[in-house]
Symmetry: C2
């Protein structure tokens, strides 16, 4: 039976078939580092851990953030829970939270689930226009920044991010900075947003291929928010899985050189798929981080249904991310599969889309 | 420095010292069963799992609940997240949720965090008076039942529970049944609350000594609530840790005879501490389930501070659970420690409390 419309990514979850090429899900296909497995065999008792997270893990994280202390961290069930708890912690009824458009598809849901109201400003070719932003931020309780971005693959300019820091500080607006792709940047090093009201969300999922283990964290020097997050988590999920925290501690022992090698793999894929899409004549910008390309398409929902039904390709409708003019392709798969996917996409474009 | 007041259990978290006897935390001291460790060494990839939980785990759970199907389960980060998600799923602004008094200390927080309002009815010696209950339930959106109960250690009568099923069905009120102590009952088998609007919360923590691994679940035949819970979890935490779910699957292979042997250990401890407290002349009922005794004390906050400061005993103020006339003792520790704890308690009673 053919689909009339696919309304969310969850349609594709668990879909697998011989020959299916998935540009859908945003998770690494690389293997996790061996460091995460060390010592798990010696764990025999699993009593409750501290709600804010294991001390050794928070201590090790503090060493990765200049000037940070272990008290600035709360370990969570992935970045998702960090974001949910943070929004709940700063929630005021009907307060506005500023989101970019396009956005990571959960953001508007997260804001509403925390009893607040999402408001939007438009990115331009995936980039923040600071004039637009400066107008939109007024009257907001918080703003979510996501650089590198899912779904756009763009990285914001450091000069822009610094202006945002100043603006948010002046206006007393929280910056929630979702930096889960911080180790997947192809144009420069990550710029950590700083300031008294910056609430940084991060995760072990993307850097260390640990998505299913669900370890993320909040980092902030705002004591009040950190304490409120811990208080809420005490009632809503208690400690994050202690074994997964042990594995995350192991992950932090991975040398930077290994992470750099991974980034090189991602960059090669980025170059390859970007050039492939350009060669197909698609309107697309060059991704600067994460593992998504976001080409323009007419009627994206029809495109992704046709691609799935007739060409065994999974791609995501940009509409789910707030942009009804584009389709998101994740390139978290090997070059051979990307090649085959591009071959099929070419057939689709020639035979149907432009036919 | 002496404490003036201790306002929540979190004061005691992480407290340890030579000779400290903790009747505080509610977690098993027994070892987890060997079944949970099988196969974890072969897990090498940790991609996202289904948000509602691994199919094999939900399938195995369905076999434990008469008439259940795997679609009736959502695997969560412990019972805490199951409760949080369930309350958020049924939330309506200012709706009332009926709680017993005394209650598990997180319940009022959970209700408020889901933008609803807790209302209370009084238990009588830890038991539900159905007349009181029938009046209190009117106008509520949901009621939380917790049998066996933390902190009272009581198990509700089956006849009472059946009346509650009828009442809730007639009034269209959700029953959230927190049955995390279902395998720790000394007076009969667990009675699973049933009905179209019953939302059962459970956990692997207590039965299998897996608290720190955080695996719990929602079981319900109410499709609408189950789907809403999955939708919320998609945005707030995604799948529960896939390795912990694998371990929970292993736990379900533990034969009933082993669980029965554990229950016998808990019963022996229950008998021992109950008789000990009676011999000390304390006003206390005999616990029927879980691992808590709840004797009467004047000025419980002073009692727990004195016990901690001068006798190296941790016990919890009943006030934290909505009863300012009692102190909660967890007997999740071995008979030797219980004996020593009772010896010190006797000294305290003779020298100070009654002195």
């Amino acid at each position: 039976m053919k689909q009339q419309k696919i309304s969310s990514p969850s349609f594709f979850i668990g879909k697998s078939a011989d020959g299916l090429i998935s540009f859908g899900s945003g998770q690494p296909d690389l293997t996790p580092p061996p460091q995460i497995f060390r010592g798990i065999n010696t764990m025999k008792m699993f009593t409750y851990g501290p709600v804010h997270g294991n001390e050794d893990l928070r201590q090790a994280l503090a060493q990765k953030y200049p000037g940070a202390r272990k008290e600035n961290f709360v370990i969570t069930n992935g970045a998702s829970e960090a974001l949910d708890l943070t929004l709940r912690a700063i929630s005021q009824p009907h307060a506005k939270v500023l989101l970019p458009k396009p956005y990571y598809y959960s953001y508007p849901h997260n804001v509403r689930l925390a009893s607040m109201t999402p408001v939007y400003y438009k990115l331009e070719q995936g980039k923040i226009n600071i004039t637009t932003f400066a107008k939109a931020i007024r009257g907001c309780r918080a703003v979510i920044i996501n650089s590198p971005s899912n779904p756009t693959g763009t990285v914001q300019e450091i000069s822009t991010l610094k202006k945002i820091e100043i603006l948010a500080k002046q206006l007393g607006v929280y910056i929630i900075s979702d930096e889960v792709y911080k180790d997947l940047i192809y144009v420069r090093k990550n710029y950590l947003l700083k300031g008294p009201h910056v609430l940084t969300i991060n995760s072990f999922s993307k850097t260390f291929a640990m998505c299913g283990l669900r370890v993320g964290y909040l980092y902030s020097t705002d004591r009040e928010v950190v304490e409120r997050v811990i208080e809420i988590k005490t009632h809503t999920s208690m400690n994050t899985n202690v074994m997964a925290q042990h594995m995350a501690r192991g992950a932090l022992r991975v040398p930077q050189s290994v992470i750099n090698k991974q980034t090189a793999i991602w960059r090669a894929r980025r170059d390859y798929i970007y050039q492939g899409l350009v060669d197909l004549g698609l309107d697309v910008w060059k991704p600067e981080g994460a593992f998504y390309v976001f080409p323009k398409f007419k009627n994206p929902n029809k495109v992704i249904i046709d691609l799935y039904d007739k060409y065994k390709i999974i791609a995501y409708d940009g509409t789910w991310f707030g942009d009804p003019t584009r389709v998101r392709f994740s390139y978290a798969l090997d070059l051979e599969k990307i090649t085959e996917g591009l071959r099929r996409l070419k057939m689709y474009l020639e035979k149907e889309y432009r036919g």
